[in-house]
Amino acid sequence: MNAAEIFQLIWVAFLETLYMTIPASLIAYVLGLPLGVLLVITRKDGIKPVPTFNTVLGAVVNLLRSIPFVILLAMLFPVTRIVMGTAIGTKSVIFPLVISAFPYVARMVESSLIDVDRGIIEAAQSMGSTTWQIVYKVLLPEAMPSLINGAAICVTTILAYTAMASTAGGGGLGSLAIIKGLNLRKYDIMYVASIVLVILVQLITVSGTKLTRRLDHRIR
């Protein structure tokens, strides 16, 4: 296999990886962000305390989070078939990725929001803010740098999960490394695919950190 062919394989797998990671991350945030907000505001000492609801929600999130991705992937097979039309292939993996990632995202968002200074929230309350106004005009903007940092971590986690897509017949860099590289003993492909994955993770992590620092106006 020549370099051009390897490059072609890697390029396709790279696109497949993005094709799984990007939509899965976006949808995981669409679900996880509001959930994280709920986890914070309904706490006993939150701005809209509903302790029982909070406990139940927290338990459900923890339960989902504790199931390893590979097992979830298998368990979800029938549901995935209904939701995605098929349980096999790159596209179908997006669904289990989302299910596995959104509780993780919710916890990540929760931990960012919890760090917002209580005094700032109280000041907002003392000015007559509604709960919604506090969430989107105080909590989220104040936590933004930390939320971005958390997002970078979540995306890299989802990216790592995509490597297991081969279990469900999905593509991507991970599958390429395992199926073509490991199983068919094409070690050059395995190494190149792995290196590209590593670079991708590094890129996301570094730009996340950079962006976080740029957005944070607390320092200086």
Partner: protein, 344 residues
């Protein structure tokens, strides 16, 4: 500012109680049967030692803290029966500033000040114009685009004040607003509060543990001690005729000596309290020159802060009864408050 007598008080607290559950079971009364009345347009001080319940009291006023018992009337309306919506409307008429400023760190000064206008639905161009006006009031026009982290403590508190004024409040609650600031900055913030009170007629409630703050700007004061009001009245009254032990403790050394053991009933000393007018008269010099008595000054504490000056002096009394009486009479003639005390 005029003090209306017929109209409802700006803030009236009646029989307020606040009990916190203790973690080990049982409860703790942070406030116990507090009643006070704050008139429109005055600057009312609440002073007390740490843990006295000052913050709890002021936080009950805008219901950041829910009272256990009692009544809080704002302009005649009961805060405790309000639903969330009414409460939010009331809070927009009653702003608060804090010791730690509590500004949003990720927003510029301008956007911090604009926040109350945003949540009240003021159109953007109008809001922006108002932000400029407000920043001018607090003298920070140039800092509109700066972030709070780039400001000094005093500047941050000015931003907080501008933000508090944005909603055109009737009341400004200040919880230790100057406690994180150095003396110079404290002076300028107090002057600003006084100016706001005079120019805009806003009722100001100031919480502090520093007597100087009260003396400088307040019209009336309540001394809070262990969750109860130890003493209440005009600042002059409370300072010159301090009755409570808590008050004496807050006023410092001379009061302490006065409190100490009354076993040593040797010769009484005299505690003289000066107020504004006679703080400048050469009373002691006159005493020595005209009455021919020897005066031994044991302690003196004369403060001239802002528009008023107060002083206390402790002098040793002459041994013989006659010159003692002469001295007393002379001092009383001068309109001074004099009291015999027994120092160690």
């Amino acid at each position: 500012m005029s003090i209306e007598t017929g109209a409802p008080a700006q803030i009236e607290v009646v029989g307020l109680r606040k009990v916190f559950p203790l973690s080990g079971g049982g409860e703790f009364a942070a406030l116990d049967d507090i009643s006070l009345k704050i008139n429109k347009g005055e600057i009312y001080g609440i002073i007390g030692m740490s843990g006295a319940g000052k913050s709890t009291l002021i936080r009950c006023m805008n219901r950041l803290e829910t009272p256990t018992d009692g009544k809080i009337l704002i302009d005649g309306q009961d805060v405790l029966t309000m639903n969330q919506k009414q409460l939010n409307m009331m809070r927009r008429k009653m702003s608060m500033i804090f010791q730690q400023f509590n500004l949003q760190m990720q927003k510029t000064v301008g956007r911090n000040v604009r926040y109350p206008l945003e949540i009240a639905g003021v159109p953007k161009h109008k809001a922006n114009q108002r932000v400029k006006e407000l920043l001018k009031i607090v003298g920070l026009e140039a800092k509109e685009d700066a972030y709070p982290a780039q400001l000094s403590g005093g500047q941050k508190q000015r931003v907080a004040i501008a933000r508090a004024l944005a909603s055109n409040p009737e009341v400004l609650l200040c919880d230790e607003a100057t406690s994180a600031l150095d003396p110079m900055t404290t002076q300028s913030i107090l002057a600003l509060l006084q100016d706001i009170n005079k120019r805009l007629g806003i009722t100001v409630v100031i919480i502090t543990h520093e007597m100087a703050v009260i003396r400088q700007v307040c019209t009336r004061v309540a001394i809070l001690d262990g969750g109860k009001i130890a003493e209440e009245g005009t600042v002059d009254e409370v300072f010159v005729h301090t009755r409570s032990a808590a008050g004496k403790r807050l006023f410092g050394i001379i009061a302490d000596q006065e409190n100490s053991s009354d076993e040593k009933l040797t010769i009484p000393a005299l505690r003289i309290v000066f107020d504004d007018e006679n703080a400048q008269k050469p009373i002691i010099a006159t005493l020595i020159r005209e009455l021919g008595v020897d005066v031994n000054i044991l302690a003196a504490d004369v403060k001239r802060i802002g528009e008023k000056s107060y002083g206390q002096m402790l002098i040793a009394m002459p041994e013989d009864l006659e010159s003692r009486k002469k001295t007393m009479d002379y001092l009383k003639e001068q309109g001074l408050t004099v009291k015999e005390v027994y120092p160690q």
